[in-house]
């Protein structure tokens, strides 16, 4: 038995060596299929992880209150009334589980400093924003009480804005032109990097809410979003319910009317976003699965094209005195060896491609043993089936029929 296996192995290795081109093409089909599937799924997993990491960088205790129905397909967010400053006050005083309540109004405006200009998000808010948004001040200071109360023209800029407009030296005390007024820079935020949706979180300018309301949005009372930070150790759900009830009351919604606002915690935001990314990963995976299939068809083609030659070869071997199962064992070993080799090269290739791409896209690299194994087994199975099946048919022919096969 061992002797027979060794013999078949020897015969198979000789056959591979003789048909280098055919062997190479077979291996290539497996390599591409395996590498494509593994790469797609690994990148998808990395993207999902990246998003959840970034969302947790928002702060795990964060709630966001917005006007309009909950985000999602078919939901209407237009037409709902903004919150008022009085709502902010009501939440602050009536919901004791909150550590910080930061009202936010904002718009996208052009900033000018010296002869540079830059488009950026300008938010009007309060010092509570730093707590709720998990921001650190890298240089300078927060707003003073009188600045907030009087709506003075002061601002704190994000790391990107500093890089774009004040690449050298400290911008503290410098002037920044925001739309049509000038404000004094009093601080610079610590950089946070890319946001969950791929936006740059550091591309931001903060000013007291009163300043923004008066000079940017024009609505002295309206607040578009509230960022709320829970006290440590407080469960989010009851607090969200409390806020919901308070807001329904304040907005005078009747018993059976839908909410015209929504409260989300970061977990929900994370779920929404990772749901989207999972869909994308599934899509990419499907594309990769098609390429695996195409690779499989390539293998099949090569194997079938060579079937005439192989059938004659099998005829020769049978005439010389090879037994059917000896011939089959040889072809099986050949197919297994080529498929396994292709699978291994595919896995290694995918590893390098994934390492390169994740580094390029600043994503975490997550090795997924399941998909590696699955892709390996699937393409291996294709290689084996299409290498082995034609051989099995040929080996069952009469030797003379096989010899005359055309």
């Amino acid at each position: 038995m061992t002797q027979m296996l060794l013999n078949a192995l020897l015969l198979a290795l000789r056959a591979i060596q003789r048909n280098l081109m055919r062997s190479f093409l077979t291996v290539l089909g497996v390599v591409i299929g395996v590498a494509a599937v593994i790469t797609m799924v690994t990148l998808g997993n990395g993207a999902t992880r990246m998003v959840s990491d970034q969302i947790s960088s928002l702060g795990s205790n964060l709630l966001i209150l917005r006007p309009g129905q909950q985000l999602g397909p078919g939901r209407d967010s237009a037409g709902a009334a903004s919150f008022k400053l009085a709502d902010v006050e009501a939440i602050q005083t009536q919901v004791p589980a909150l550590k910080a309540v930061a009202p936010v109004v904002g718009s996208k405006v052009t900033l000018v400093a010296g002869n540079q200009n830059w488009q950026s998000q300008v938010n009007g808010t309060s010092n509570a924003y730093f707590v709720a948004g998990n921001w650190q001040i890298a240089a300078g200071r927060q707003f003073e009480d009188d600045e907030e109360a009087a709506g003075k023209a002061v601002c704190i800029i994000g790391a990107t804005v500093k890089k774009q407009l004040f690449p050298k030296g400290s911008p503290i005390g410098d002037e920044l032109r925001v739309k049509n007024f000038t404000c004094e820079i009093i601080g610079v935020l610590q950089g946070k990097g890319q946001g969950a949706m791929g936006q740059d979180q550091d591309d931001v300018v903060l000013m007291p809410i009163r300043t923004a309301q008066r000079r940017l949005t024009g609505n002295v009372n309206d607040v578009s979003t509230l960022m709320l930070s829970l006290r440590d150790g407080v469960a989010a759900d009851p607090v969200m319910e409390q806020i919901r009830r308070l807001m329904r009351e304040r907005r005078r919604l009747s018993e059976n009317a839908d909410d015209d606002f929504n409260v989300m915690d970061t977990k929900q935001i994370a779920e929404t976003l990772s749901g989207t990314i999972r869909t994308m990963t599934g899509l990419l995976g499907a594309v990769a699965a098609v390429s695996l299939l195409v690779g499989g068809i390539g293998i099949m083609n090569i194997m079938l094209v060579s079937v005439t030659e192989r059938t004659r070869e099998i005829g020769i071997r049978l005439a010389i005195g090879a037994l059917e199962h000896e011939v089959l064992l040889q072809f099986l070993i050949e197919a297994v060896a080529l498929s396994a080799l292709g699978g291994l090269i595919g896995i290694i290739l995918a590893l390098f491609v994934c390492l390169g791409l994740t580094a390029l896209m600043h994503m975490p690299f997550l090795f997924n043993p399941g998909i590696n194994l699955l892709a390996f087994l699937f393409s291996g199975a294709i290689g084996i089936v299409f290498g082995y099946m034609p051989a099995r048919r040929a080996a069952s022919l009469d030797p003379i029929v096989a010899l005359r096969f055309e």
Binding site: N7, R317, L323
Partner: protein, 273 residues
């Protein structure tokens, strides 16, 4: 079966197809071939000569009739047992050479020994010896495509004789060659027959090639029409001892219960598939 009778066919028929489409290629053949003979089978196309050779070579099974190879009833053997009979006792030469392409001459010749499970040193030595016998020394590492037609047929003969077969079956061995190369091949077959005592059975349609044989069997329409012998110039030598392929003599092989030995006839009794 005695006095050197190696092969005996009795009332062999072969029918292809079924029902109205059935075609009877052999209609009852009786033929005895003694060890050491050089037999040419002749006849027009469709006379059944190639069918007869395939049956003699255990490549094909007869529809009915009895085929005795020494004392083995071949018609009762299974497919695998026939393969083992071919492996141990028969060598083949085809009109179209049927060599493995992109494979060196040396490896082509070693192939039958691989299936016998011969050691690599033994394989190399036997292959070189067989190549020397057919005059292909120095061509060991060439592939069939790099050889001329005559050289390819000599390579095929080397592959057939590397196992020291009892019988060499040749199907139109000169059919693809010009007459000069054809005569060289015939001289080689005659030498193998005379010097090593290998029984040669050759199908041909060329009378000048049949002339080399010491017995000519003519087939017409599925039956033997004539069987003519001529006096040999040299006496038949006893069969050479089986050395190269290390196959056991047939009788001992049949009676031996030895199953473990690779190439032994234990395998003829077909163990599990």
């Amino acid at each position: 079966m005695n006095n050197g009778t190696l092969i005996s066919l009795r009332a062999i028929t072969k029918t292809y197809g079924e029902g109205v489409a059935a075609f009877q290629a052999l209609k009852g053949i009786d033929l005895d071939i003694a060890a050491g003979q050089f037999v040419a089978i002749m006849g027009p196309s469709g006379s059944g000569k190639s069918t007869a050779l395939n049956i003699l070579g255990c490549l094909d099974a007869p529809t009915s009739g009895a085929y005795g190879f020494r004392d083995i009833p071949v018609e009762a053997l299974t497919r695998n047992q026939r393969a083992l009979l071919r492996r141990h006792y028969l060598g083949f030469v085809f009109q179209g050479f049927n060599l493995l392409s992109r494979t060196s001459a040396q490896e082509n010749v070693e192939l039958p020994l691989l299936y016998r499970g011969a050691e690599s040193a033994q394989r190399h030595a036997a292959a070189r010896e067989a190549l020397a016998q057919v005059g292909l020394t120095g061509w060991e590492h060439h592939t069939p495509a790099e050889l001329s037609g005559g050289q390819q047929q000599r390579l095929a003969i080397a592959r057939a004789i590397v196992t020291c077969p009892l019988v060499l079956l040749a199907d139109e061995p000169t059919g693809n060659l010009d007459s000069q190369r054809g005569h060289e091949i015939m001289d080689l077959l005659v030498a193998l027959n005379r010097e090593q005592g290998i029984t040669v059975i050759m199908v041909t349609h060329e009378p000048e090639m049949a002339h080399y044989a010491d017995r000519v069997v003519k087939f017409v329409d599925g039956v033997v029409e004539s069987d003519s012998r001529k006096e040999r110039h040299t006496p038949v030598p006893p069969p050479a001892p089986l050395v190269r392929g290390e196959s056991q003599p047939l009788r001992s092989v049949l009676s031996s219960p030895d199953k473990g030995r690779p190439g032994g006839v234990g395998e003829l009794r077909e163990t599990s598939p």
